[in-house]
Symmetry: C2
Subunit: 479 residues, 2 copies
């Protein structure tokens, strides 16, 4: 009887496991070929996701986000008019000519091709690194020349029908299962190696942030002696995941000069949209395990499918859907909380911006007077310069980050507070140096903002006072 | 039959409502008499609450709160050693002599009677306003003289057995039902009227914060020409509930000089522990409807009773019990979040403190040089003074608030960022004025901290370097 039982069990096991289908397989009418970059082809296999992605081209309604008005009502928002002190500080290269609030993903490359002042692509082919799904291919084909060749020349190597195609399916997904992947080995891949992270060990939840971190990070473009771009790297070396601090980012920026600031004549590095670094550095949402996609690509129901919203956008513009998944409060209540943090960021950003711009104008004055023979104390000058640069980079860090502080409110305000402290010290030492050299300085330094804001670039862009972001607390008026 | 039914129903109604006891009544063996201030009497009626209250006398274990070490391991923590720049800034009156981290409620009056340097009670009887349950009675008996009479004289009017009795039952509860009440009509009562709040309309949840706001607020003590205290008020006029901003508090402080700062010679107002104002001004916990008692007096089980924990204390010292009622995360996770906000506060507090102290020393130098005949530009001086005072009050606001920023993290950092901005501007204008007058100023101003920290008061208190709170981000070292 024991034997019979064993036989019956064995037969049952064969029936249950041995003769069934080996593995569940989703039947797909379309398969995406390895190396396929055309989103229309991917769209045949994943039409709903594709539809979401195409809608990143659409404008948003105005008034939903108080401070991020990228393409509200089909208007492109001039960031230099929003933050006028940036026009002064960025004068000397493309960012000081035209710098707009970003529109949706679908606009990325088209923006470069048809819209933004061409001075913005002066660094060369390197400027395509986030803008086209062909970037890795171009990098591989051209070798180091990819970085330095003129933008137009590298751009012309993209197949004609995709010369306006921005980030798309293949940048985040692998073609067989649409699983997430890090496509930009030459940028993020290298950065992960710099902080000792094993790409093979990343969880799906890690990837729901890291695919975004392929572009939503700051980067440096090192130059050769002829000021040609020779590479692109993320300033992560010396840090670890969840702790790429503003201090680390600044240390790298200081060592990687990319441009010369007109007002001061200083050779400076730069910081761009450090969303991943800022969010992952001790923010509450990061610590709670939230990924970028959790908030910016909340799940939505489309017919009988549940898919993540591929119209990646601010929850503020999206009925706070990303927020109410976890938070039981009303969307009005949650919106008010976001605004509370952003209002404070804008207030201190004003303080940091005007203080840094004031110091810049004092350097301009000190340099002009020195050229005329005034005896500007070089110890005071150099100490002021060190403080000034620390202020500048902190200001740019928060100013370029695309959440107006919300991704990490306390960190934003810490960084801005430090920017204010450094700028104040720079101003103090400069006023002393100037006064000692018998140069008069008024209490309120004239920033000559019109000079930097009016008549910018080929299209003679001007100062749009309607979009200027005033201090919501009114404190800036005391300075 | 219809009539019979009606009769039966009527009889039932009589049985159910008419003949039963009119109202449920808790039978208490002890009743507390109207006007009873002795907590031991109250304790007969509410022994468990009384027991909790008496345990506010106990020390805490060290290491639980990184920055609030009030009575950890039975050590009283010297706040002037923790924040050495405060010793410089408060030099000139009692706060600069001895200023300690607070111990539990039971210590309040005993601290004044037996421990703290007597210079702290120089303002007179007014200093008893929060420290004894007899305050309202004394105020009523003595009239305006209550404020100005020497502290010893007013204190001596308290019955002998209660001359060390701190805040107790009657300060928050009415004796019949132990319902919450605002006992301090002459302070909080007046302040509520100032902002148009109807005391009769307060909800129990309002009172769970407002009973605390009888003392955990800042206040001003106006003086007459002979520097005698003539009153005590909360600086709420012109504000509204949930919006008593630091700006409003400062406007009142500036109009109510209370002391003369030694280093600068300036006549200044003051700001004390503005917990209620700070917490209620747009903090997330306040907006979520949390009261002071929700976090600091979490419900606890004692035998078969559920009572609020009357050992009022920081959740950090209490196993995060207040937090885990609402938050599903572990207490370690939650503790780390509190520390993250507090670390940032301490970092910027260092910046604001040293920048303000530096400006103070430059005023000292400018005044000394002016006395020796130097031509210090008075326009620059006066403008610097205005900025300096704005910095000073903001620094004191956050420094005196007892949560190290946690009650409202973004607001703490906004206020400190503004303090840094004002202090930096003051320093800048002073360096200019001094240099123009041919006075040398080193890059790093010597604050002479030992001068302010060593040998303080009758007990010759010194600088305890072991408790100094260093910038957790190390940023202060660059200044």
């Amino acid at each position: 009887m024991k034997k019979d039982l064993l036989c019956a069990l064995a037969a049952g096991a064969v029936l249950l496991w041995g003769c069934g289908p080996r593995q569940t397989e989703v039947i797909r009418s379309f398969k995406v070929a390895e190396g396929e970059l055309d989103p229309a082809e991917w769209g045949k296999a994943w039409p709903l996701h594709y539809l979401g992605w195409t809608s990143t081209r659409e404008p948003s309604a105005s008034g939903l986000s108080r401070y991020k008005r990228g393409y509200d009502d089909k208007k492109v928002c001039d960031k230099l008019s929003e933050y006028p002190y940036l026009a002064l500080l960025f004068n000397g290269w493309g960012f000081g000519v035209e710098y707009n609030e970003p529109r949706g993903h679908a606009w990325m490359l088209e923006e470069q091709v048809r819209h933004v002042d061409q001075s913005r692509m002066k660094a060369g082919g390197v400027c395509l690194s986030c803008k086209t799904p062909y970037a890795s291919r171009l990098r591989q084909e051209l070798g180091a020349a990819y970085f330095s060749k003129p933008w137009e020349e590298v751009h012309a190597r993209i197949p004609e029908k995709h010369r306006s195609l921005g980030v798309s399916c293949s940048d985040c997904h692998e073609p067989t299962t649409a699983g997430l992947r890090i496509e930009r080995g030459f940028t993020l891949g290298a950065a992960l190696a710099d902080i000792g992270m094993d790409r093979a060990a990343l969880s799906p939840q890690d990837l729901r942030s890291l695919v975004c971190a392929q572009c939503h990070v700051t980067y440096n473009i090192p130059k050769d002696r002829e000021q040609r771009s020779v590479g692109l790297f993320f300033p992560w070396k010396g840090a670890k995941d969840g702790k790429v601090s503003v201090e680390t980012v600044i240390a790298h920026a200081r060592k990687t000069p990319e441009w010369t600031q007109s007002v001061t004549g200083f050779s400076l590095g730069f910081i761009r949209h450090p969303e991943y670094e800022f969010f992952s550095n001790d923010s509450t949402h990061w610590k709670a395990g939230a990924s970028c996609a959790d908030c910016h690509m909340p799940y939505q129901r489309t017919g009988s499918y549940k898919i993540s919203d591929h119209r990646v956008m601010s929850p503020l513009k999206n009925g706070m859907r990303g927020c109410i998944q976890c938070h039981p409060e009303t969307k009005e209540w949650l919106t008010e909380r976001v605004r509370s943090a952003q209002d404070r960021t804008i207030s201190l950003l004003n303080r940091a911006g005007y203080a840094t711009a004031t110091a810049a104008k004092l350097f301009e004055l000190a340099h002009a007077e020195r050229d005329k023979g005034a005896d500007i104390d070089s110890a005071l000058h150099d100490r002021a310069k060190a403080h000034y640069e620390e202020a500048f980079y902190r200001l740019v860090f928060v100013g370029a980050e695309n959440s107006v502080g919300f991704h990490n409110p306390s960190e934003a305000l810490r960084v801005l507070g430090d920017a204010v402290a450094h700028a104040g010290k720079a101003e103090a030492l400069l006023r002393q140096a100037l006064a000692a050299a018998r140069v008069e300085v008024p209490v309120k330094v004239d920033l000559q903002l019109a000079k930097y804001l009016e008549g910018r670039g080929k299209r003679k862009l001007g100062f749009d006072r309607n979009v200027e972001l005033q201090d919501p607390f009114g404190t800036q008026a005391s300075f």
